[in-house]
């Protein structure tokens, strides 16, 4: 049994449909038009110990709902779900000893007092050995550079600082599963770098399993070996992060700037998207292996001034994905 297992998981909400003034009055009388909303729709996957999985989706795709189901905050409508071999909402407090979560816009730390006080609370709450707590604190202070503000009230910290103490709190008691929900949202590049480096180090040394939800694809590319894409409550894609573009046949974009106005290209085997512009030739959808051959061919027929080779644009990949609703399993 894997660490996390989902089978045909579904969560349905009935939402009141208040579109006109008339509906508000009907609501007072108890008769309200309702709509069924499938926040999570027939989702199945499993996550093994030590994996760093990225979860991507538009707003309202069902990512947060999925995390709440995994942490036992919500109960499923239908389907099976197991975390540590137990049902989350039934064994919530038992599982909670080994789980932590970082929600991008909220903090688990007490607002009016220092982060350090909250860390001490964590020591008692999770029954940590004092030596282990001390060890982790010192380690994280160094890794996240917390020494300057760890004793200041959390209320006075900037977003970047708050996120760093938040991460410290999240990993402090050596949880086995960590849910990161938009941990880098609103952060500047430097703060982001500190956090990404921290997570990379965690990935390198520990056996913590991380589920990272984010809109930031660069985070996913750097941290997650596996990506799950969701939309409208369904899983659209579940597989290797690196392999996404290849599987979708997005291919590499090669751009040639030439001296001659008309850039000629002999017909080549394979399907490419060719765009002809004055002094310029753009070829998309090229396989990695075919690039040298292509370059040779074009250079042979034209006076090439500049060559640009671009890997596939992940954002564009996603856009096409949502548009075409392709369902792929790696």
């Amino acid at each position: 049994m894997e660490l996390i297992e989902l089978k045909n998981l579904t969560k349905v909400y009935t939402v009141k449909d208040l579109t006109s003034m008339k509906d508000y009055f009907s609501a007072l009388l108890g008769r309200v038009p309702e709509e069924k909303f499938f926040a999570v729709n027939d989702v199945s996957f499993s996550i093994a110990k030590g994996e760093f999985v990225g979860l991507i989706g538009r707003n309202g795709a069902g990512k947060s709902t999925l995390i709440k189901l995994l942490t036992g905050i919500l109960t499923p409508s239908t389907g099976e779900i197991s975390v540590f071999g137990r049902i989350p909402h039934k064994s919530r407090q038992q599982n909670n000893y080994k789980i932590s979560a970082v929600f991008g816009q909220r903090t688990q730390l007490k607002w009016d007092i220092s982060a350090y006080e909250s860390f001490r609370l964590i020591e008692y709450m999770y029954g940590m050995q004092h030596d282990r707590w001390q060890f982790n604190i010192e380690r994280f202070i160094k890794m996240l550079d917390l020494s300057a503000f760890i004793y200041k009230p959390v209320r006075t910290l900037s977003l970047g600082q708050r996120m760093r103490v938040e991460l410290c709190a999240a990993f402090l008691y050596d949880p086995e599963i960590v849910f990161l929900d938009e941990p880098t949202i609103g952060l500047d590049i430097f703060a982001k770098e500190v956090i990404v480096d921290f997570l990379l180090e965690i990935r390198r040394t520990k056996q913590a399993t991380v589920l990272l939800t984010t809109h930031d694809v660069s985070d996913i590319e750097q941290l997650c070996g596996r990506t799950i894409i969701m939309d409208k409550g369904k899983v659209l894609f579940d597989g290797n992060t690196a392999g996404i573009a290849e599987i979708l046949e997005m291919g590499i974009l090669v751009e040639f700037k030439c001296e001659n106005k008309e850039v000629s290209l002999a017909p080549m085997p394979g399907k490419y998207q060719v765009t002809n512009l004055p002094h310029c030739l753009k070829i998309g959808g090229v396989e990695k292996a075919a690039v040298p051959q292509l370059v040779q061919a074009v250079m042979g027929q034209n006076r090439v001034l500049e060559i640009k080779v671009e890997p596939p644009d992940f954002e564009k990949v996603l856009k096409d994905f949502y548009a075409s609703k392709i369902f792929r399993q790696a």
């Binding site: 909220r106 688990q108 007092i113």
Partner: protein, 267 residues
């Protein structure tokens, strides 16, 4: 086993310490608290002075009324756990998600943190208030040690009752996401039925009988009346225990029902 027990104890003490520290940070707020409490007592002093010059209110003498007013004000500083308010805030800001992710039940977290908060308020609001009022109005306090002890026990049980009551209100706020209506009701109930403002024995006969059946008098009037007027201590204690049990089951039932339906705001 013992280690586990002491671990829990330390955790609860840690919560209480945090509640205490949380208020310690706001020193000016504390001063203002004491000041406004003192003002409120002063207003009531002059009010009752005027009233008693023209007659008697209920079965209390002027001196006793003064004691009642001061004691009620002191109690109000530290017997409210604010559980309903805390839950309301958690629901609105969505920080409920984090509280639920802890391996400790959130009712436990709230209870012990409020204990710390109220310890702070008892020491730094109620005590200064007592000192100021005794000096300003010459309120006499000459209760026997045993009386005070039994009074303390009654207050302790009343505290538990109030905690459960506020917890119930807090849980009800899950049904209506805005807590304003529930808050208004709470304020009305406490003002009228608990004896917060004046002893219930001063109420007209018919109302007094009705209020006697409600549990809210246990919050202020019952303990205070015992302290000032004496009476059957055990009877009050029994009533408190009964209502605590009722509240406990109501809370547990509501909690289970709500846990299933829970919708957490915000993403």
């Amino acid at each position: 086993m013992l280690r586990k027990f002491s671990g829990r104890l330390r955790l609860r003490a840690a919560f209480a310490r945090i509640g205490f520290a949380r208020n310690q940070v706001y020193a000016i707020a504390t001063y203002i608290n004491v000041l406004s409490a003192f003002l409120f007592v002063s207003i009531q002093y002059f009010l009752w002075k005027a009233v008693y010059e023209n007659g008697v209110a209920g079965t209390y003498s002027f001196k006793e009324m003064l004691q009642y007013v001061l004691a009620a004000e002191m109690l109000s500083a530290f017997i409210h756990t604010g559980a309903d308010r805390q839950i309301g805030i958690m629901v609105r800001t969505g920080s409920l998600a984090h509280v639920i992710l802890k391996p400790v039940s959130f009712t436990e977290q709230i209870f012990f943190e409020s204990l710390g908060v109220n310890l702070y308020r008892g020491l730094f609001v109620a005590l200064p208030l007592l000192v100021c009022s005794v000096f300003a109005f010459g309120v006499e306090y000459h209760f026997g040690a045993f009386t005070l002890l039994r009074f303390a026990v009654l207050v302790g049980f009343a505290y538990i009752f109030i905690y459960l009551f506020e917890l119930l209100l807090g849980l009800l706020s899950f049904f209506s996401v805005n807590t304003w209506g529930i808050n208004s009701m709470k304020l009305a109930v406490i003002t009228i039925f608990s004896g917060r403002v004046l002893p219930i024995s001063a109420y007209p006969e018919k109302l007094r009988v009705a209020v006697d059946y409600l549990p809210f008098k246990l919050m202020y009037f019952a303990p205070l009346d015992y302290l000032i007027k004496g009476g059957d201590w055990a009877e009050v204690l029994v009533q408190e225990c009964v209502w605590i049990v009722v509240m406990f089951f109501s809370v547990t039932f509501l909690q289970r029902a709500l846990l299933k339906k829970m919708v957490i705001q915000g993403g």
